[in-house]
C-alpha cells in the first residue's frame, strides 16, 4: 500500500463505465480528500449512482479507482468492505430481520467466511446502536420502523463496517424535511467524531449545498463543474445542465436554489 496518510480517500482518473454497451461515465476525474464531504449532483441519468457503484467496487474499474492510494483491483472483497461502506438508494429490507441482526451484517468483512461473530464484533454493533440511539430498537423488525428510523439503521450497518469512506446514494430521498436534516446532521457529526470521508449523491440542491464541502456537477457522464457549493450552484450552470428555471439566492450556510415557473411566452 502506498503512503495512505497523504493519498486522497478517493482518486478517480479517467473513469469510464459502459452498461449494456451504453457509455454511462465517459472519463470522470475526481478526488475526495480524507475527511472531506463531496456531493455529486446532476440531472437524472447523469451517472451519479453509477459513479458511486464504481467507487464502491460494484462495477469493474480496477485501475481507474484508487481508495486511500490503493487501486481498487488490488483490494480483496473483504478488505474493500473494511475501507468503504455504502448506503444504497433504497436498501433491501429483509423480511422478518431484527435491527440487531441487520446491523451485525456490517461485521461480515471481519467474520471468517464459515465462522460466527466474535464478542468484539458484537461490542462494535452495540456501540454503534448506542451511538445512533437505536439501542431500544434492537429487537424490532426492520420492516416495522418508520422511514427516519430505518435510515438510521441503514447508517448503523454502514458504520459497523468500520470503514472510513462512506458512500451515500440519495440518503434522504425517502424522508420528510425534518428527517432529512436529522439524518444529514447525524452524518456530519459522525464525520467529525469518527473521521469519516463522505461521498454522496443528492437531488435536493439547497440541502446538498448546506452540507457539502465541495460539489461536483455531473452531466452526460462527465464532470462539468466542481468546487465549493456557491461556485457550482449557479443559475447559469443549473439552467444549462438541468434545463431548469431556478433562482439562486444566498443562504446562511450556502446558496438556496429555488425552482421558479418558466414564463409562458405564448399567452
Amino acid at each position: 500500500m502506498s503512503d495512505s496518510s497523504a493519498a486522497p480517500a478517493v482518486d478517480l482518473r479517467d473513469l469510464r463505465i459502459s452498461l449494456d454497451g451504453t457509455p454511462i461515465l465517459a472519463g470522470v476525474d475526481l478526488t475526495v480528500a480524507t475527511g472531506e464531504w463531496v456531493t455529486v449532483i446532476g440531472p437524472n441519468g447523469a451517472g451519479k449512482s453509477t459513479l458511486l457503484r464504481a467507487v464502491g467496487g460494484l462495477l469493474p474499474a480496477p485501475d481507474a479507482v484508487r481508495l486511500f492510494g490503493t487501486p481498487l483491483g488490488e483490494l480483496r472483497r473483504r478488505e474493500r468492505a473494511r475501507v468503504v461502506a455504502t448506503v444504497a438508494q433504497s436498501p433491501v429490507v429483509p423480511p422478518g430481520m431484527a435491527v440487531l441482526d441487520y446491523v451485525l451484517l456490517g461485521r461480515n468483512p471481519y467474520i471468517p467466511p464459515l465462522g460466527r461473530e466474535s464478542a468484539a464484533d458484537l461490542a462494535v454493533v452495540h456501540e454503534v446502536l448506542d451511538r445512533l440511539d437505536l439501542t431500544g430498537f434492537h429487537a424490532r423488525e426492520l420492516a416495522t420502523l418508520s422511514g427516519g428510523e430505518r435510515q438510521r439503521v441503514f447508517l448503523a450497518r454502514a458504520l459497523a463496517q468500520g470503514a472510513t469512506l462512506l458512500l451515500l446514494d440519495e440518503p434522504t430521498s425517502a424522508l420528510d424535511i425534518g428527517h432529512q436534516q436529522e439524518v444529514l446532521e447525524l452524518v456530519d457529526q459522525l464525520r467529525r467524531t469518527h473521521g469519516l470521508t463522505v461521498l454522496a449523491t443528492m437531488h435536493d440542491l439547497s440541502i446538498a449545498g448546506e452540507y457539502a464541502d465541495r460539489m461536483v456537477l455531473l452531466a452526460d457522464g462527465r464532470v462539468v463543474a466542481s468546487g465549493p457549493p456557491d461556485e457550482v450552484l449557479t443559475e447559469d450552470l443549473l439552467a444549462r445542465h438541468y434545463r431548469a428555471h431556478v433562482r439562486v439566492i444566498p443562504g446562511p450556510h450556502g446558496p438556496l436554489v429555488l425552482p421558479t415557473r418558466p414564463t409562458l411566452k405564448s399567452r
Partner: protein, 367 residues
C-alpha cells in the same frame, strides 16, 4: 453515574445484564427439534400393522447403542420387525425429510423467494426424468432397482442441476423487471417440460412403467438399510455445506449488490448452495421418489415460530423436516390400513392448503 445518564433512553441497557444477542439457534428450540426427531422415530417404529408398545420400542432402540443391553420384553420376531423393517424405514424418512426441508430453506434463501422449493423449481422433476432415463434405458443400472446402484443418485444429481439451471435461466430472461413469481413460473414450465419428457420415455418403454411408478410413488415402503447407507453420505455432505453457510444466507438476504459491498461473493455462495441443495434433493428423490411440499411446509413453519434468520431456519428445518416426514409416513401406512397411501399424496394433501397460507403472507414480497 453511567446509569443516571442513560435513564432517558427508550430501553436503558442495564450494566450487569447480558446485552441482547443476535439471532441464533436457541437451546430450547434445538431441544425441541431433537425431541421431535426422537418422538417420530419411536412412533415410526411402534405403529404399523403390528402395533408394538412405544416403551419397549424405545428400550430396543437404546439397545442399538454400544454398551447398552436392556430387556424390552419383545419377542425375537418383534425385535426383527423393529430393527430390520421399521427402523430403516423411519431413519430413511428422517434423512429424506430433513434433506427436502433443508434444500427448500436453502433455495428460499438463495433465490430470496419464499415460494422456492425443490418441486416448484423443477429440481425434483429433473431428478425424476434422469432417474427414469436410467431405469428405462437401463444405463448402468443393469435393471436392478432393488440394489439402488450409485448410478441413480448421480443421474438424479445431474438431472436436478440441469433443471435448476434451466429454471434460473428462464426465470432471468425477463431481465431486471423480473419478480420472484417469474422464477416460480419458470420452475412450473420446466417441471411440465421435464415431466412430458418422462411420460414420453415411459410410453416408449412400457415394460418399465411398473418399475418406474413404484419408485415415483414413494419408496419409503420398501426401505431397507441399504437405502439408508446410500443416502447417508449425501445427507452428511449436503447438511455440512448448507449449515456452514447459514450466516452467508442472511447476508444474501439484502440482495447481491449490498452483499457484495459487505465483502461477500454472492454468485459464488449462490452456486455452491444451489449445488448442495440440488445434491440433497437428488439423493432424496433417488431414495424415495417424488415427495412434494416438505421444502415449503417445514421451513415456513420454522420461520413463523422460531425466527426469520437462516441461522435458525436451516438447522431446525433439518430436524423438524425429518420428524415431519417420518410422522407423515406413519399416517400414510395407518390411515387406510391395511392399504398404504403413497406418502407423496399425504404431503401434497397437507401442502396444498399450506401453500395458500404462504402465498397470502408472501404477497407483499411478490408484488
Amino acid at each position: 453515574m453511567h446509569d443516571v445518564l442513560k435513564r432517558g433512553r427508550p430501553v436503558a441497557p442495564a450494566g450487569a445484564a447480558t446485552p441482547p444477542r443476535p439471532a441464533g439457534l436457541r437451546k430450547r428450540w434445538l431441544a425441541a427439534g431433537v425431541l421431535a426427531v426422537l418422538v417420530a422415530l419411536v412412533a415410526g417404529v411402534s405403529l404399523g400393522p403390528v402395533s408394538l408398545p412405544p416403551g419397549s420400542v424405545a428400550i430396543e432402540l437404546l439397545n442399538l447403542l454400544p454398551g447398552v443391553s436392556l430387556d424390552s420384553g419383545l419377542t425375537e420376531r418383534e425385535i426383527a420387525i423393529v430393527t430390520e423393517l421399521r427402523l430403516p424405514r423411519a431413519v430413511l424418512g428422517l434423512l429424506v425429510g430433513g434433506l427436502l426441508a433443508l434444500a427448500g430453506g436453502a433455495y428460499q434463501g438463495v433465490f430470496r423467494n419464499p415460494l422456492a422449493d425443490p418441486y416448484l423449481l423443477g429440481v425434483a422433476a429433473g431428478a425424476g426424468l434422469a432417474v427414469t432415463v436410467v431405469l428405462t434405458l437401463g444405463v448402468g443400472a443393469g435393471g436392478a432397482l432393488s440394489g439402488l446402484p450409485v448410478t441413480i443418485p448421480l443421474a438424479a444429481f445431474v438431472g436436478s442441476l440441469g433443471a435448476v439451471a434451466m429454471t434460473y435461466l428462464l426465470g432471468s430472461a425477463g431481465g431486471r423487471s423480473r419478480s420472484p413469481a417469474t422464477l416460480i413460473l419458470a420452475g412450473v414450465a420446466v417441471s411440465a417440460f421435464l415431466s412430458a419428457g418422462q411420460t414420453y420415455l415411459l410410453q416408449r418403454n412400457a415394460e418399465s412403467i411398473q418399475q418406474v411408478y413404484s419408485w415415483l410413488l414413494g419408496r419409503l415402503a420398501t426401505a431397507g438399510w441399504q437405502d439408508v447407507r446410500l443416502v447417508l453420505p449425501y445427507f452428511l455432505l449436503t447438511s455440512l455445506i448448507i449449515l456452514l453457510h447459514r450466516r452467508e444466507l442472511d447476508v444474501l438476504s439484502v440482495g447481491d449488490d449490498e452483499a457484495a459491498s459487505l465483502g461477500l461473493h454472492p454468485q459464488r455462495s449462490r452456486y455452491l448452495l444451489i449445488a448442495a441443495a440440488s445434491l440433497g434433493t437428488a439423493a432424496a428423490v433417488s431414495a424415495s421418489g417424488l415427495i412434494g411440499f416438505v421444502g415449503i411446509i417445514v421451513p415456513h413453519t420454522v420461520r413463523m415460530l422460531a425466527g426469520a434468520s437462516y441461522r435458525v431456519i436451516l438447522p431446525l428445518s433439518l430436524l423438524f423436516g425429518g420428524a415431519f416426514l417420518a410422522l407423515t409416513d406413519v399416517v400414510a401406512r395407518t390411515a387406510a390400513a391395511p392399504q398404504e397411501i403413497p406418502i407423496g399424496v399425504v404431503t401434497a394433501l397437507l401442502g396444498g392448503p399450506f401453500f395458500v397460507v404462504v402465498l397470502r403472507s408472501a404477497r407483499r414480497v411478490l408484488t
